[in-house]
Symmetry: C2
Subunit: 236 residues, 2 copies
């Protein structure tokens, strides 16, 4: 990470995913340049990258705006993600894990289980569980030994208002409990099933459970977004 263009790209991406720029907001090149203390050149490079990543919309001679994800879009993305993560789970089960991967995989599952079944369930535990969750899915991606698949899945996870990070930030800001504890418990049960299926090389089962697992999160998040957008519509 040496060039300013890359620095700016990273900062902007993080800001958008964190909700620093609301969906629909115009991104003024001059304003961004001043805010980040660089010229417009690296700003423009960053914007074109984020546009290609799907985080921004662009109209020639009109500029960039933060992409607004509709409820339908979110559902569509989760449909694709469920299919891809299902595929990854099946491949991981069929290929199998190496000894060290296996150990780390099991350890991650164990720690998540410990957290979710423990007495304390505050922000700290939830955050840790979220990080482990990402690591869990990441390990499955890595086990497929298919970089294109891993990248495709990653893309489905880095969209405004839909990443774990974005959701968490929103939850923290508004003091909204996105999931109740039962949902986490249910999610963890899925993880245990998926882990078991992968470790015992049951590809079809791993795929089916993973698919359902992702589709359930999709439905949950869609419900939450629907409530949120109703609330936003009711404001003015």
């Amino acid at each position: 990470m040496v060039t300013r263009a890359e620095t700016v790209t990273k900062q902007l991406r993080a800001a958008i995913l964190d909700g620093g720029y609301a969906p629909g907001a115009r991104l003024n090149e001059m304003a961004l340049a001043e805010a980040m203390a660089v010229s417009r050149t690296p700003i423009r490079a960053a914007l074109s990258v984020l546009f290609a990543e799907g985080l921004l919309d662009y109209e020639p001679n009109c500029g960039y705006v933060v992409r607004r994800i509709s409820l339908d879009d979110a559902a569509h993305i989760y449909t694709v993600r469920a299919s891809l993560e299902g595929l990854a789970a099946r491949l991981a089960a069929e290929i199998g894990l190496g000894d060290s991967e296996r150990a780390r995989f099991q350890a991650t599952l164990d720690e998540m289980e410990h957290l979710v079944s423990g007495q304390a369930w505050e922000a700290e535990q939830q955050e840790r569980w979220g990080a482990l969750n990402i690591a869990f899915h990441g390990m499955i991606c890595a086990a497929t030994q298919n970089n294109y698949l891993a990248a495709s899945i990653q893309r489905t996870r880095t969209l405004p208002v839909l990443t774990e990070r974005g959701l968490k930030t929103f939850a923290a800001e508004r003091a909204v409990v996105w999931w109740d504890r039962a949902a986490y418990r249910r999610s963890q049960d899925d993880h245990l099933d998926i882990g078991d299926a992968i470790l015992t090389r049951q590809g079809t089962r791993a795929e089916a459970v993973m698919r359902e697992h992702i589709e359930r999160s999709g439905r949950l998040i869609n419900q939450k977004l629907a409530i949120r957008s109703e609330a936003l519509l009711a404001l003015p």
Copy 2:
């Protein structure tokens, strides 16, 4: 299409997919700027877009090179594509086609069948069949009413040396027959099965046949690429 950056992007993309720039070739900004009679600014914008699309590799301070797709990469991409197109076929079957879509769908299938079972099978027929093939898959994507899925599938098809267009160009240049006629016949049989499954709303069957259909093309193309790369390795 008004800005020079967009014009240049389109031209460059087409040139790369047509094989005008070989995989691994360095893209010199100054040279491109002179060749296209613009300054480096729109060239750089175009390069960053094509990098984000996955057509180019990029290293800061080193520049862009046309991405070199290994045989493994190609296999990985086809694995993902098979899964996604399978999903699309299933969704299309479950959702169903409208009357006019249904008619166009059937007409496309009929014309392909007419071509492949006809007496003449020259470049003209093969080209037409290829175009109808793209249209056929496109109609299935459209029927899912899921733009994200359609875009994801599109991405798997626009990679250097792997698009229909790239292959065709290569075949035309080298007078290599990529597929023998039996392979086209087999492919057409798949299409008939997929079409039937979709029109009769058999989602699971549509998914399974489509998956196998794509995976078969993947295997065929991988074989051809393997032969090609052996030939290239034997040259110097």
